[in-house]
């Protein structure tokens, strides 16, 4: 008999108000499957501030608090402190914020939460722009992407800056666990969330969550683009446990980045030389990650 590695229990009911093919929707569903019903979720302004449904309806089976845009880190510190004050130690506290709420406006509160060692999981579901407000660039938008605030037009004003590396920033906080995962790889995602749940202290999970609406992509391409993000190393899956890097999936040979970009409208304007430049960066970052793994594992063995 086949062994299920994804829990069959559902804590997200039908009725969410997300778009067709929403990656953030899978991110929440698998997160709750992994963490279980004894979880309190704090959600700032982001797509998920709307997606649970309009009052008095709510599609999630866990207690949730809506918070202001920039305070998820502080909010989960407060929930955890209150639980500790009440002597409750069997409840998982998780923040569930978008990339803008994490890498931009919420980075101070996140940094504070990580530095003071709050025992909670901070989850950033990364759809690589302000999608709830209608596709504006964030610091997590990749280089080359079209958004409504990086329009293509005559000035070719697509995003010129690289994507902010939140994993590097969180690893620099010396937290015990940080990982990237993807809604296209749910078994890996659930494994990482459960590992995070079992570790005391601040944990950071970054979930690749495609947004067909904002990426100018057909909704049925969500999982395909997840697969391509890993096989091209556009979005590598890895974890960092106490400073030691482990790459979760290593393609024997990387597919060209143009395969990843081709199925998304947000990169369609890019001239060949830009694609070539992005390919070089992807190669560099992948090599850097491989070396980081080798180097940090070597430190442990040495």
């Amino acid at each position: 008999m086949a062994k299920f590695t994804i829990p069959t229990e559902e804590y997200m009911n039908p009725g969410h108000v997300g778009c067709l093919g929403c990656g953030g929707c899978h991110a929440m569903r698998y997160t709750l499957k992994a963490l279980g019903p004894k979880t309190i979720i704090s959600i700032p302004a982001c797509c998920w501030a709307v997606m649970p449904g309009v009052f008095p309806y709510k599609c999630l089976e866990v207690p949730l608090i809506n918070t202001a845009f920039e305070v998820t880190g502080a909010s989960i510190s407060g929930i955890k402190a209150a639980l500790e004050a009440k002597g409750i130690d069997d409840v998982t506290v998780a923040g569930f914020a978008g990339d803008g709420g994490t890498a931009d406006i919420g980075i101070q509160a996140l940094s504070g939460m990580a530095e003071r060692g709050t025992d909670a999981i901070y989850i950033m579901y990364d759809n690589e722009a302000y999608m709830n407000t209608g596709i504006q660039r964030s610091s997590s938008t990749p280089v080359g992407a079209w958004t409504t605030t990086t329009p293509v037009g005559n000035t070719k004003d697509w995003k010129k800056q690289p994507k902010k590396n939140m994993m590097d920033i969180m690893v620099a906080h010396k937290i015990p666990y940080a990982a990237t995962c993807s809604v296209g790889f749910p078994e890996d995602m659930i494994k990482k969330l459960r590992k995070a749940q079992g570790i005391r202290g601040p944990k950071f999970i970054q979930i690749y969550a495609p947004c067909p609406t904002g990426w100018r992509m057909q909704p049925e391409k969500t999982i395909e683009v997840c697969r391509l993000a890993v096989s091209t190393a556009a979005y590598p899956l890895y974890e960092v446990e106490n400073g030691v890097y482990t790459i979760s999936r290593k393609p024997s040979e990387l597919k060209p980045i143009k395969d990843y970009m081709a199925i998304q409208g947000r990169f369609r304007h890019l001239p060949q030389e830009e694609v070539d430049a992005i390919q070089k960066t992807v190669n560099w970052e992948w090599k850097r990650l491989l070396r980081l793994e080798e180097f940090t594992k070597g430190l442990v063995e040495g």
Binding site: V54, A74, S77
Partner: protein, 392 residues
């Protein structure tokens, strides 16, 4: 137990005797000795609270809203720019109906930088849905914290409170303070036990999106609670007096207003100096009185209306300002008196900004000025002591 302490220590002891369970705060002059004292009380084990040491006041308030929604009694302290930074979350705290109690050490806002007392920081939070108390002395600082929890945690009120103490004049000045025994406070103030909270056994969602047909209902309920809190403060102060044997005058403290020709209205620690001036002037045969606004939100409309008919001329001393139209308390007092047939002549004075000294001499001059007010005022506001504009 009687102790000699600053307003800041009175604040810290207020949080202690109320058994605040989660503290979150960020240091700012002149509030710092509150956080330091609480940190000391926590590390010695005298206080059992969890102290979340945050990276900003904004995060302090965010952490407390979430802690309060998880069912914990919460406390913070701030001042001036710290309070201004919190503004967004003050509105959130009231909207979320979390009865957080906060000490604000009233300090001027920059620029130019000033660390000295005025009320502009607190007044700028007027419309956030927080109850606000302005204290005259350190005993009142401590006692008001106990009352704020008692009232704010009531199921039909569920509103947060700011307890204001003036920078340095109270925060760093020692006075004798009777610190009640914790067991005594326990019998007055039961543990915080909200019906709805973040609880995995009853998984509610809080603060979700509402459509326009519902939003106004939530705002109306906050206003209903705030209106109910007006009688609530009167009741809680009577309860407090029965239990602890002292009171601080209700929403508005009237001092020698009977048979007065002129009354000055004010809030905060300058009332203490002004009471001496009233005594001196009364001794000289000048019939003057003082009304001290203790509770600013909810605004004590009935108490202010009692002033109509008490005297013909009055002055509202605002320790703050609104650029372009009167002082904030001046506006509200004038508004409350408008419907009264025997409303007095009212002059609005802007006083003591950024710690500008309010000596007995200055207050006496304001009294004499107010006594001399005649009908047909050609102006209704004066900035007291401003150089180069006929100031004194």
């Amino acid at each position: 137990m009687k102790m000699v302490m600053t307003g800041n220590y009175a604040s810290a002891y207020g949080a202690k005797v109320c058994r605040a369970e989660v503290i979150s705060a960020y240091p700012i002059t002149p509030q710092t000795s509150i956080v330091e004292k609480i940190a000391t009380l926590c590390s010695s084990g005298e206080m059992k609270a969890k102290f979340v040491k945050v990276e900003s006041e904004h995060s302090a308030m965010a952490a407390l809203i979430s802690a309060s929604m998880t069912g914990a009694r919460t406390y913070t302290a701030t001042s001036s720019h710290g309070l201004l930074l919190m503004h967004e979350l003050l509105i959130w705290a009231a909207g979320a109906r979390t009865p957080v109690v906060m000490s604000n050490v009233c300090r001027a806002n920059g620029p130019p930088w000033s660390v000295w007392a005025d009320h502009h920081d607190a007044i700028a939070q007027r419309d956030t849905g927080w109850m606000q108390v302005f204290c005259e002395g350190n005993q009142e600082v401590l006692d008001s914290i106990i009352m704020a929890y008692k009232l704010g945690e009531r199921e039909d009120i569920r509103l947060p409170s700011i307890i204001n103490e003036d920078a340095f004049i109270l925060s760093h000045t020692v006075e004798p303070v009777d610190v009640p025994e914790m067991e005594d406070v326990d019998s007055f103030l039961p543990p915080f036990n909200p019906r709805f909270r973040l609880d995995v056994n009853e998984p509610y969602g809080f603060g979700s999106l509402v459509m326009p047909d519902m939003y106004m209902e939530f705002r109306y309920k906050i206003n209903e609670a705030m209106e109910a809190a007006r009688q609530g403060w009167r009741d809680v102060e009577k309860d407090f007096e029965r239990h602890f044997g002292r009171s601080h005058g209700g929403l508005v403290e009237f001092y020698k207003c009977e048979g007065a020709d002129a009354i000055l209205i004010m809030a905060g620690s300058i009332a203490s100096t002004a009471k001496d001036v009233v005594d001196d002037l009364r001794a000289k045969g000048k019939k003057v009185g003082l009304a001290r606004i203790r509770v600013f939100r909810p605004f004590p409309v009935e108490e202010i209306r009692k002033l109509a008919g008490m005297a013909n001329t009055m002055g509202m001393c605002d320790h703050s300002y609104t650029f372009g139209h009167w002082g904030p308390m001046g506006q509200e007092v004038r508004g409350a008196l408008y419907d009264m047939n025997d409303r007095p002549l009212l002059m609005n004075y802007i006083v003591g900004l950024g710690g500008k000294d309010m000596t007995p001499g200055v207050i006496e001059k304001i009294y004499l000025k107010t006594l001399a007010l005649k009908g047909g005022l050609d102006h209704d506001i004066e900035w007291i002591g401003v150089k180069g504009h006929g100031g004194w």
